[in-house]
Amino acid sequence: MTAKKYILLLVLFVSQLILAQHDSINRLQEVLVSDRNLQQFSESQTILQFNDSTLTQNEALLTDLLNFNSTLYFKEYGRGMLSTVAFRGTTASQTAVIWNGININSQMNGSTDFNTISGADFNSVSVKAGGGSVIYGSGAIGGSVHLNTDLAFGNRFENQLKIDYGSFNTQGIHYKTNYTTQKWSTQVGFSRNSSTNDYDYIGRYNWKGEPLWNQNGEYEIIGFNANLAYQLNETNLLQFYSQTSNTDRNTSLVSPTETKSKYVNGFNRNLVSYTGNFNGLTTNLKMAYITEDYHYFPEIESPNYTYGKTTSWISKADLGYHITKNFNLNGIVDYTKTKGYGSGFGDHSRDITSVALLTKQQITDRWQTEYGIRKEFTTNYKSPVLFSVGSTVGFGNFYHLKINLSRNFRIPTFNDLYWEEGGNPDLKPENSYQAEIGNVFSFKKISLTQTFYYYKIDDLLRWVPANNGIWAPQNTDKVNSYGTETLLNWNTHFGENHISCNATYAYTVSENRETKKQLFFVPYHKTTASIAYGYKKAAITYQFLYNGMVFTQSDNDPSKIVPAYTVSNIGIDYDLKFLNTFKIGFQVLNLWNSAYESLENRPMPGRNYNLYLNLKF
């Protein structure tokens, strides 16, 4: 990143912390966001946004980006393997992942594997802390991660190519092209990330004293996306988004004698959107078709597999109306039909209709409130009335107070309802009441956000052994989750020197109300920090991550933990100034060679290297 292009958009919406470097070219254009509600109705919550340049500067897979730059806690089954999240002490299926406004958490297991997502496939990634079920539906309890394709108009033809090569034969190629006119905007991209992933386990030996290494850890992730916008005239806009991806991974072994297995999964997502603006009335119609599938091969050498596939049709109408200059009303109706079939859960379908009403009122210049209510109708489970109430007040330019109360839920998945055997058709959705208070301080080029939250979660689903040796899901657990998040951001420049500092800290208590024990795999403490210094055409970045101890058993046995760890990365890059950008970069990951793991017996690699070339033309 050349120094010239470091721009901080500190206060886009006063209360949102934008943590990114932004291309100055982009700034001048009006970006067509695919998900208007993220900005319109979430001002009383904190959103951390990562833009293009941040996405390409971090490691390819989304786990690394978010792990080193946000308060999200990740549990990885080894490098590049299954990676699930815990946000504010909630479970993996209580963080919603939203693609261009559409909830894409798996219909089969409720969660998203962040190691199947390549960050560079998107123009921006946002992390919204706190409840969002009123807008985004199931799973937006801990928070939501938004993957956005941002299109723009204007006469341009731009290409971007990034090539990576690193330790363990890790290769990445990513290409994106933008061709836009005043009326048309197209963006087509391709990415491929792969690794032999055969790293040594630091300081681990088998009983014969032979060193252990990561066996059967190969992965390959291929993604393709095509996006289009067409401005018919002043009032009518059409957008089309399509993305497809396939992840082919072996599953790394805990001990070399285990049976080698592999897991192949993919998705295909298509979205058509129409937006019309008529004198204060905004119409947005969306139609999406989404599929996901997996094939699990319990033995690599054998052709036998188990599989599952779901397809979803989503239709959504969103009507917004400015009743007065300071009062917005949005009505959203959507209908989702999901079919699922697989070796584990037979053949089922479900229909969900939902109705939501969102309002936003600017009471004074410095005070605004948001209200939302949503109800789903389905025959598969009883659905509660969800709501959200939020308010933002500014006191001078340096302090904003944000308050948000909401009720959110997570619906049972196809596995939960129909798994053979054990699926429980009588499950209720998980239910969460939550409250948060955010304090945002802005002083010159420093921004500090401090949030306190409290969750009361009931009917938490857990698979427990039931009759006849079969595990079955039950609405058993009750959890209180509370804590604090701190986000700090400082960007400055003097002369040709540019400095950017970011830090996050999360303190999380997530306690089973009956046993008073911390949920396993929720760290009390997590902190990240990064500092970037740019001078003329060169830049150096240092990233730091501290992840506190986690319990691995529900009884909090102090001898059954994953110990705390710290990891640091350092990267340098230099722009040779051919073409628009011709950047060559080198990263040392896990600089201090720390032996760490986020899950027992799943060691992560020691010091390793990555070389990259980033061209724009």
Partner: protein
């Protein structure tokens, strides 16, 4: 680091050698873990553990294997321990490994690491171990998942699988009696498979119906507990001389009976949280338990059970995500000891 490990291994080996040297000379305990009971904890996906309680109940070690062998990885889903001479063999079904330890010191001696595929239970005859292997399962391998189970024959001198006996069926528990091997499996098998260890051939299949699990031989009769879901449980008696069958059918209140164990001519078994007993030769089943214990576990009730030397040992599976409990009762149901063991305790092995 590597050097340290090697030193540890060397030290372990020398300790073991000195212990075995002592064996022949004294009547003292042959090691810290002589005269007591091992409790096998199958564990979760991060690995299992073994707990130990001395016979006088004064010494308890929650995790013997780690205490002795440091951070060596014992493996996942520990299923069974069997003994031969001064060695104990710990089967880790999820890791395709058998850990060979000195049964008195628990020092790791070797690992059997190849030729196993989801190993389950084992017995020893004439220096060879016969270990059932579930191999693949029908949910993922519909064609041969229910027919590819086998017995691995392991030479205990070399700790290598020297041959396999295909069973053309499913296999789980294995008993040695009458110089033959008897194999049961509770989900997909309708017969006891009889294997001749001299020829390594399946000799016959004794059709007794599905859902047969625990078994024990006494006086030439193999007693097998069968508990068909939604139907009456029964104790099937197979006369090994001619494979003829008789049975005792249990009452409807004893549906789901399991954990058959014979001690001093008394058959013990469990239903839910209750312990039942009947004379070995009785032709009618009891209707009331000797005693019951309290469990909040849905599936893990009586997850492990044994009767030995005048005591009844019960392991409760708990929630399979935290350390669980083992209980020791007198034969008439007086609680003598309650222990916090590891995750998913499933068996007791007396040393």
């Amino acid at each position: 680091m590597k050097l340290t490990k090697l030193l540890v291994v060397a030290l372990c080996t020398s300790l073991f050698i000195s212990c075995s040297d002592d064996d022949d000379k004294t009547n003292d305990p042959k090691g810290v873990y002589d005269n007591g009971v091992f409790i096998l904890n199958e564990g979760n996906s991060s690995g299992g553990s073994v707990s130990f309680l001395s016979d006088d109940q004064s010494t308890f070690t929650a995790n013997v294997y780690s205490t002795v062998n440091g951070n060596d990885y014992i493996g996942t889903y520990l299923q069974h321990i069997f003994f031969d001479g001064d060695k104990a063999y710990i089967i880790a079904g999820g890791s395709n490994v058998i850990n060979v330890v000195n049964r008195y010191t628990f020092q790791l001696l070797a690992k059997i690491e190849s030729g196993l595929k989801t190993p389950r239970y084992g017995v020893v005859k004439d220096g060879k171990a016969y270990v059932t292997n579930a191999n693949t399962y029908a949910y993922a391998n519909p064609e041969t998942g229910d027919t590819d189970d086998f017995i691995a024959v392991i030479d205990l001198k070399t700790n290598k699988v020297e041959s396999t006996i295909p069973l053309n069926g499913t296999a789980n528990r294995i008993e040695l009696a009458n110089n033959k091997l008897y194999v049961s499996e509770p989900y997909s098998s309708d017969a006891i498979i009889v294997v001749n260890p001299n020829t390594n051939q399946v000799e016959s299949r004794i059709a007794i119906g599905y859902d047969a699990d625990t078994m024990e031989e006494e006086d030439g009769i193999l007693y097998v507990m069968r508990s068909p879901y939604g139907n009456r449980s029964e104790i099937v008696k197979i006369k090994l001389a001619d494979n003829s069958i008789s049975k005792v059918t249990l009452g409807a209140s004893l549906d789901g009976a399991k954990n058959l164990d014979i001690e001093n001519d008394v058959i013990y078994f469990t239903v839910n949280t209750g312990v039942y007993q009947m004379n070995r030769t009785a032709t009618t089943a009891p209707t009331t338990p000797v005693f019951e214990y309290t469990s909040t576990s849905d599936y893990g009730k009586m997850y492990g059970f044994a009767v030995n030397d005048g005591r009844i040992y019960i392991a409760d599976g708990g929630d399979f995500a935290s350390n669980s409990k083992a209980y020791i009762y007198s034969l008439n149901g007086t609680l003598e000891k309650e222990l916090t063991v590891g995750v998913g305790p499933n068996g007791f092995y007396f040393n």
